[in-house]
Amino acid sequence: MKREEPDREEVIAARARQRAIGRELRRLYDEVVQEPVPDDFLDLLKKIDETKGKKDGTS
């Protein structure tokens, strides 16, 4: 039962783990990407413009 060189099975297992990690990373990320965007994000630019507009109007 010597284990001197990294045996083939280990290499295959390591690759499988890396693939699993890759899938899981994308899943975590995509899970957030898929979330509906909260309204305050969508309103944000409008609000900025309105604030700016008011400032410009009064000055």
């Binding site: 890396q18 899981e24 990373l25 990320y29 990407v33 994000f41 944000l44 900025i48």
Partner: protein, 226 residues
């Protein structure tokens, strides 16, 4: 220390956008389309959902206000991510900087929001990811999930391409070891809401570090309580 590889905008021009209505509308549309990705990247940096959204909104606002400094034709997503990242790191006093992926932060996350927070519905990978140094996690997310090239990730993270490569490699190695059950990250006790056995084991370990760390096949609570 912070140099602006992506022409990170400054607001010194008092936000006077170039008045090109058509271009502004295109820009607005593009920007809004990138919000989901901006939120995802932010979440991966902050961990916590609310803090991440606060940060993402600040970045979005800044991007919009400084739209004239974006070079048309360059990578808007990378530019936007750069703004977010710089904001994340620039002010250390801000709440999102103080919400690292550690136990105490996890405990402060209201349980009701748990299902939306990476730190709480922990797959093994998510848990191990949480234990990585921020810069490794960032590099891994950008390249491994965000679809950025090493070159763009390097610009976003303001470092050399080789640095990104090595961060990604180290992150992958650490995650792999964690999933295999051999790395230090795998030894992390679950945060609040985790299972009771781990809590008990953690307590036992604190009481009798020697006895437990040598028993069994691996470090149950690898970082012995010293």
């Amino acid at each position: 220390m912070i140099s602006h590889n992506f022409d990170e905008p400054s607001l010194s021009a008092s936000g006077e956008a170039a008045a090109v209505p058509g271009r502004d509308e295109d820009f607005r549309r593009d920007l809004l389309g990138l919000i989901p990705f901006l939120r995802a990247f932010s979440r991966s940096l902050c961990g916590d959902r609310e803090l991440a959204d606060d940060l993402a909104q600040e970045a979005l606002a800044k991007a919009w206000q400084s739209r004239e400094s974006f070079r048309a034709g360059s990578n808007l997503k990378a530019w936007l991510f750069t703004i977010l990242r710089n904001q994340f790191y620039s002010d250390r006093r801000r709440a999102w900087r103080q919400a690292p992926w550690d136990e105490s932060a996890a405990e402060r996350v209201p349980v009701a929001r748990g299902e939306q927070t990476w730190a709480m519905h922990l797959s093994d990978t998510a848990r191990a990811l949480r234990g990585l140094p921020a810069e490794q996690r960032e590099a891994l997310i950008l390249v491994g999930a965000g679809g950025f090239s090493y070159e763009d990730a390097a610009r976003i993270s303001n470092c050399a391409v080789g640095t990104v490569k090595s961060r990604v490699a180290r992150a992958r190695k650490a995650l792999s070891a964690a999933l295999e059950g051999t790395g230090p990250l795998s030894a992390e006790p679950r945060p609040a809401g985790g299972n009771a056995t781990n809590e008990i084991m953690a307590q036992l370990n604190r009481l009798a570090p020697q006895g437990f760390s040598e028993a069994g096949s691996g470090p149950v609570e690898g970082k012995d309580s010293a």
